[in-house]
């Protein structure tokens, strides 16, 4: 091939990649700008400290919904992240090619395709009906079920990337397999695993459908994990479906807070991780 054709092709392909990035960012700014435009006006201190107030009364906030979302995402993470990462470890470190691991991978992929509302319905039948009431635990459990397959899949992809020579170096030094995994393989892939976990958290934080049938919602503070609890997506959903402009604005402000919350969790995790490992 002539050199100038190669150079031209090189230039063309690289421009395509730049263009792809620009295209990908357009909707982000479009959507974020839209949320800012609509939500910023309703955002003030009271929004973060007060309980929701009825239509027409000023000074209402979503403090309970913010805390509720954090609690349920935390419950979901406490269940989903360990289960997901451990299962991911099994699939890459112990058993890559057997029928069993193929079946598990399969199940994982199938689980990611279940619409979240179905998860809510199943938890409603299995947990809420048995307990006789809606609860933060049921909500967190539903979110955990959505998280688990996402985390397994990303953990697996990241662990697969750790080169075998690294593992072999571990064995060569006489380190046991378990220790090699925990102290060498896992830290090497940690950045990617955390990215995966963050994507999963971001995904479940915005879920409304599975919470309607599990956590229900609450206009007050929940006093225990065994009570209906408020969450940002449900509160946003209720405000957005109402006829009133004041509530629509609160819904936008809620969306803005939800997005910021996810960004903060995301940044915090990255920062915490970077400071440990650099």
């Amino acid at each position: 091939m002539k050199d100038y054709i190669r150079k031209y092709k090189n230039w063309l392909m690289l421009s395509i990649f730049v263009a792809a990035t620009v295209i990908a960012l357009v909707p982000l700014f479009g959507v974020l700008g839209y949320v800012l435009k609509n939500g910023l006006g309703a955002l003030n201190m009271q929004f973060f400290t007060n309980l929701p107030k009825a239509m027409g009364l000023s000074g209402g906030g979503m403090a309970n919904a913010i805390v509720g979302t954090l609690i349920m995402v935390l419950i979901a993470s406490l269940i989903g992240i360990p289960v997901g990462i451990l299962a991911g470890i099994y699939l890459t470190e112990y058993d890559r090619h057997s029928w069993f691991s193929t079946a598990v991978r399969f199940a994982t992929d199938v689980l990611t395709g279940i619409p979240s509302i179905i998860v809510g319905i199943v938890i409603y039948t299995a947990v809420v009906l048995k307990m006789g009431n809606f609860s933060a635990l049921a909500g967190g459990l539903a979110l955990a079920i959505i998280m688990i397959p996402l985390i397994i899949r990303s953990t697996e992809e990241m662990l697969k990337l750790v080169s075998h020579s690294i593992r072999e170096a571990g064995y060569a030094l006489g380190i046991s397999k378990g220790k090699t995994i925990l102290k060498i393989v896992l830290p090497t892939a940690a950045k990617g695993i955390i990215t995966g976990a963050m994507l999963a958290i971001a995904r479940v934080s915005g879920e409304t459908a599975p919470l309607l049938f599990t956590a229900l919602g609450n206009q007050y503070w929940a006093r225990s994990l065994n009570e209906p609890i408020a969450s940002l997506p449900v509160q946003i959903f209720q405000y957005a479906t109402s006829p009133y402009k004041e509530w629509h604005q609160l819904a936008w402000a809620g969306s803005l807070v939800l997005i910021l919350l996810i960004i903060i969790i995301n940044l915090a995790a990255r920062f915490a991780f970077r400071s440990r490992h650099s």
């Binding site: 395709g113 319905i121 934080s205 997506p233 969306s255």
Partner: protein, 314 residues
């Protein structure tokens, strides 16, 4: 740590193996359990409609007639459209970030792209109604009709709300997943590979093509599969822009419907048992479709992955 030391290492190893095995096993249990729960709840509908549930195009809650074909069609078409758009763009973003951008730039843009995943689906939907759909109706669809109108896909009245809007919204939503995973995968390709290619006189694109993409292939496929999973199950945003019409029309401009959307739309107001059961059966079929698609994708990955595999560089 101190607890661990009391065991001898092999016991600790056995323990870790056992725990991770149990967790992996629990996923199988979870799938079987979810599948069973859905099957159980869908039984009245399966019993009443049998196989015709999948082939019937009528969805009439008033007359208690339920058929899922239009929803299956809508789900497959929008997801396919989303993949066709998001996979190349996501891959492009990953290549740009990983192989071309400077490190500061990379961190910022990479973060921004991941933020696409932080936006709740309802927000995408509202933006879709007020920004995307009007833009499609006034600019994109007339343009497509003018230049590509001879293809049935691009015929018909531009409405804005329809298959095209659904596919585009889904593409936006699955893009960060595909981009983030592809990027991580490419980042792990050893630099030696790249240097070797460059040393042989390859241009940057040739280096990417020869040294990076082949090794990242299976990982990228994994990212795309995750994106597909999300596209299939995505609810809120799609239902707000797809037009919600249970019909099978060839045009991308025409309103359509998806499986997850009909469940979310009608579940909370479904007033009798057979109706609820039919909705759950749609969920069950979606479960089946993901199963089949994953099976096909796996075959595809296996056949593609005969070359060098990501991670298995030895």
């Amino acid at each position: 740590m101190s607890k661990k030391r009391r065991f001898n290492t092999s016991l600790g190893d056995q323990f870790l193996r056992l725990v991770t095995f149990l967790m992996a096993f629990s996923v199988l249990v979870l799938m079987a359990w979810m599948g069973w729960q859905m099957f159980d709840a869908a039984r009245p509908s399966i019993h009443t409609f049998g196989f015709s549930f999948i082939t019937s195009r009528v969805w009439d809650p008033v007359k208690e007639q339920f058929g899922a074909l239009p929803f299956i069609y809508g789900t497959l078409m929008t997801s396919l459209l989303a993949l066709l758009l998001a996979a190349p763009i996501g891959l492009g973003v990953a290549i740009f970030l990983n192989e071309m951008a400077e490190s500061k730039f990379r961190a910022v843009i990479g973060f921004l792209v991941e933020m696409l995943a932080a936006i709740p689906s309802v927000v995408y939907g509202l933006w879709g109604i007020f920004v995307l759909a009007p833009w499609l109706r006034e600019t994109v669809e007339p343009g497509l009709a003018k230049w590509l109108g001879f293809i049935p896909l691009f015929q018909g009245t531009p409405v804005g709300f329809g298959m095209l809007a659904g596919g585009l919204i889904l593409a936006m939503m699955i893009l960060p997943t595909i981009a983030a995973i592809s990027r991580e995968v490419m980042a792990s390709v050893p630099n030696m590979q790249r240097e070797a290619a460059l040393a042989l006189g390859a241009t940057k694109w040739e280096m990417i093509k020869v040294a990076v993409l082949p090794y990242a292939k299976t990982g990228i496929m994994g990212g795309i599969m995750l994106g597909l999973g999300r596209a299939l199950g995505e609810t809120m945003a799609v239902t707000m822009v797809i037009g919600n019409r249970p019909d099978i029309l060839p045009s991308l401009f025409a309103p359509a419907y998806s499986m997850a959307a009909v469940i979310a739309n009608e579940f909370t107001e479904a007033t009798y048992d057979l109706y609820l059961s039919a909705l759950v059966e749609i969920g069950f079929i979606l479960f089946g479709i993901t199963l089949v698609l994953n099976f096909l994708a796996r075959l595809l990955v296996w056949s593609v992955a005969r070359g060098p595999k990501g991670g298995n560089l030895v």
